[in-house]
Symmetry: D2
Subunit: 344 residues, 4 copies
């Protein structure tokens, strides 16, 4: 089959012909239709320090996707998964045995293996997945199914805070930030404020429902948030950028006793004034990683099938598998929303 | 009356004769019996940068105390407070009007005025307090009542985490850390580990119930905590030291998905690797300030009157009011637990 | 001044001239503009068993209102309340001293005194209220302000459950049920189902946003809810009717592990099969009484000022003070939504 | 092998020779050492209405046990389970696919199959279990391991309430009630009160740590609880009896805003005054069924290995497998605590 492969420990990704995966016990074989391209894929292509430490080539990349079940392995029957069904999947394959897995926190399983990173992934005609990781789309289109993995991060970030009636400040309007804006609106936020340095992304955030957008290159972010919240600060801040200056804005813009959800990954260390930024404000800070298995997926399917949220405006580009380089270039431009690959 | 006064904007505290406070509407006049000496009092005595920015001399210092009600103002009758009653008091006087006060979070009232800091305090024969801040001791001795304010910080830090059956790591064994050890034990922690750089303080922590103590100058703190927790890390970490290296130990020693309660106040900024220390671990970080009004006080009185906790081993020194300089010297030595002044 | 008074221990309410209230320390005098008529007022008028046990005539009735501050007593200044301000008020006057009041649960203060029940109320040209009970309308019209007390019950019932993405079943479409429908929609419920025996009320529920309405006299309520929820049952059920058969429907229609909020007051005892209706389903049942002081009011003002909710369709009738009998008749008809009195 | 079998649809249990179970993929074969006898086993023996509706003979009964792994099926290796290991097991075998299972609530899986009820159980020399249901004892003796299933119900009931510093009232001192007393003590309850009609059971409760015991045949239960709690009522009530009069005592003895955990199963309907017993008190009622998978088991192992709780005083009788009739008779007597069978 055709797949996008990290062939060797060096920059670049190749479109290559590789063996079609077989389906083991408890697994499902899926013919991929659409797949989402993520910053992680860019790191792998660029062969940066993180990729060099983690990836063992050759590996098929890609971890966000949706497609059609074409075969099921032994022991799968009970779960209702069947050939012909359109599905998406959680890309984190967890051990099921560790303390976290046994106490309802698989999203922080210490033994997590990520498809497209630690084992073959979804930028391919076929991918094999454990049945437990597979979720029926129930009418959600595969273009949307292909972005449910990153959208799940946004759901996790937003819905672990108390949103109805709250003021929510989303810092960073990449795809996950834009999803977060839409989710906060759907969950009954009283006011959603979004900041970024890129006007195209801010326009996307606005389209997803942001009441107020702030271009951090032109406006005083903290002052604007305080002004929009009667001087109190936002009840909930979702930090989606990983930019050090934005992190400080997150802490400065949250109200006394508020909640900061940290999802964006800063490079290296950021100096923090714990007293002023966290302790004296009495705030709660939560590290968002992955998606709750499978509460987040359940919530997400509820929102999507109920029509509470339409994430499609965030999908700005679509390319065939072979044009992965153009997809990566669009991400690099900083102007793109979510980019998906059309595979079948 | 006799009182300890910050007389002028310069280092030092004076024992002086000042006017006895009068009791206004809604207030209670208390004859102080015992008062606790706090690091804050040391900052005021030393006239450090914080004190220079906050204190407007002359002011009677001291914010931790217990004593006997000697008079009640108009409108106090309803609450059951009566002359002759032994009481302690919350030292944070809050506005009652701001968003935080109106939504059950007075401990982070933006308009908080602290006795002994922003208005006359408790190192005096008499202190006037709003009746709402006053709590009957119900048989708790005034020596213990005098330390309920800082012990309340420990209660707030410990009991906002889930303690029964948990492993708890207390970083820093000053008085509040030692209280936290005892509270964690009383609340059913499965294992309590405590670290400090001072063996006398570690001995106090052990006396308060720590199963394991670690001297950070000699032992590898993080390795020890991991070893004592089956390699997982502690479920709950209470950071009571404010020391930058200890903060990193707090984050390294908490388990995936655990909770870090931050109470110790670092000076200035501390560089943090948000990805590694917070986000990828999926932890929750909570800034502990003050005491919940008055849930924390209710819990504290329950523990003390039920005999779940005996905080007296933490009280290592007792001085008459006039010997405040010796009390401050004992704090400076680093060897002391809690120090109280005998006033009447 | 003119007021509606329960004059003597017998059926009936009278429009009478009574003394204008004076304003004590910590109180605010309010010129009432609009007041809501409640089932409680009907019980008082009818002099039923409850009224006979509780009311000590003569008393001015009415507990839901909004109006303009005309005077403030001593000690009120700090809170920002000023003559000329339009306000509403919490009708439960609590002691501030009991365990519940001291631990953030004033809504269940054992010493609660309700205006218009235990002391003079709001069906009058003027009413005096403790300043702490008074809330600025901040642009909310007084017609809406007059119904914020009962709407607060609905907010309390709905927002103490987890609503975003949930299926919500509201049992009983009186005014509070209709408010609950609108609040659940605003808070991001995926599907809101409402039942009643009266088509006019169901039409109101639909106008407030119910996706599905069920007339319990014609349709199988439980079967319909199960059908609309994929056979699972509703995540959250708000029982607003107090009707025994509806209570059983509430338990039968909630999903395994779901939550039932009980607000409607059944007369007398209702036989319950605890094993089948509660225990084997692993559900949580919560008794809703009053409004959280003042979290509920804060949420409510947020929803109303942000435009998340327009409760005005629920207000179906408006009468001048003197026509209280027509107001009570409209409630008795069972067809009315919320009824308000125009006072000034 | 030897086993206790429900042979036919009629009263009685037989000791019989049956085929040793084989171990399928994902399963573990366990040589049973000790097994707990439960009221459910009595219902099956007596062939009551519930048993007639649920049990399909022939079936090996018994669902509480501990023993040694003697074989593991395909695909089990990863979890660390190995022949020779001493283990216990969760007796509820869940589907893993339903909404409850996928959202962390397997304990209310709609498709639950219970060993010894819906499939062959543990009163036998060997039992085969899904590996996910199996938990290493880590040094806990098999006599204690044999009662971890019912003790887990007590853990679930107690630890889903907030216990540290609380007053806890346990209604009914059968084995699960006695476990609950010990757990509440270990979790830092300020006062534990227990009631029953049998003095032997009350003596057991006292041995497990009850501060106060009430014989409901002699004393006024509600008055005693109120007296012991300063007139407030208990913060948390665990109803473990299923007796209608005791249910009313549970509601009357809980404080305003408290929590009632319902575990005891009443026969048929019980009339409840919802207004007085639940709504006006603003309480929360929770239906306790099974054990949280596997949070409850994790907590339980923590308590037992940390020595926070010694449940052995509750085990009052021990019989060999062949003397099951004596075990059932001891349960019928009402005087027994927990009874276990010695199998190997």
């Amino acid at each position: 089959m055709q797949a996008i492969v990290k062939v060797s420990p060096a920059p670049g990704l190749k479109v290559a012909t590789v063996a079609k995966p077989t389906v083991g016990p408890g697994e499902v074989l899926i013919a991929v239709r659409h797949a989402g391209v993520c910053g992680t894929d860019l790191h792998i292509a660029d062969w940066d320090a993180w990729a060099q430490g983690r990836i063992k080539p050759p590996v098929v990349v890609g971890h966000e996707f949706a497609g059609e079940i074409v075969a099921t392995g032994d022991g799968v029957a009970g779960g209702g998964l069947k050939p012909g069904q359109l599905v998406t999947a959680e890309g984190h394959i967890v051990c099921g045995h560790c303390l976290q897995c046994r106490t309802g926190n698989s999203h922080i399983c210490k033994n997590t293996r990520i498809i497209g990173v630690d084992r073959d992934g979804a930028f391919a005609e076929y991918v094999a997945m454990p049945a437990t990781n597979v979720l029926p789309l129930d009418g959600i289109p595969t273009t949307v199914g292909a972005v449910m993995d990153p959208m799940g991060n946004a759901f996790h970030a937003v819905l672990t805070a108390e949103i109805p009636g709250s003021t929510v400040f989303v810092v960073g309007c990449g795809p996950i930030g834009c999803f977060a804006v839409g989710i906060a609106r759907a969950a009954g936020a009283a006011k959603v404020i979004a900041s970024d340095v890129n006007d195209k992304r801010l326009a996307l955030a606005q389209r997803m429902g942001a009441h107020v957008t702030i271009n951090a290159t032109r406006d005083d972010v903290v002052r604007t948030v305080l002004g929009e919240t009667g001087g109190e600060g936002a009840d909930v801040v979702c930090e989606m950028s990983g930019v050090p200056s934005a992190l400080h804005q997150a802490f400065a813009a949250v109200r006394m006793g508020g909640r900061v959800q940290l999802l964006g990954i800063p490079k290296g260390e950021v100096p923090v004034d714990f007293a002023k930024e966290i302790i004296f404000k009495g705030i709660t800070v939560y590290g968002v990683i992955g998606r709750k298995m499978y509460e987040t997926w359940h919530q997400m399917r509820r929102y999507l099938t109920a029509g509470l949220l339409d994430p499609r405006p965030v999908i700005t580009h679509q390319f065939p598998l072979a044009r992965i380089d153009e997809a990566l270039a669009a991400i690099r431009s900083g102007d793109a929303g979510k980019i998906i690959l059309e595979i079948a």
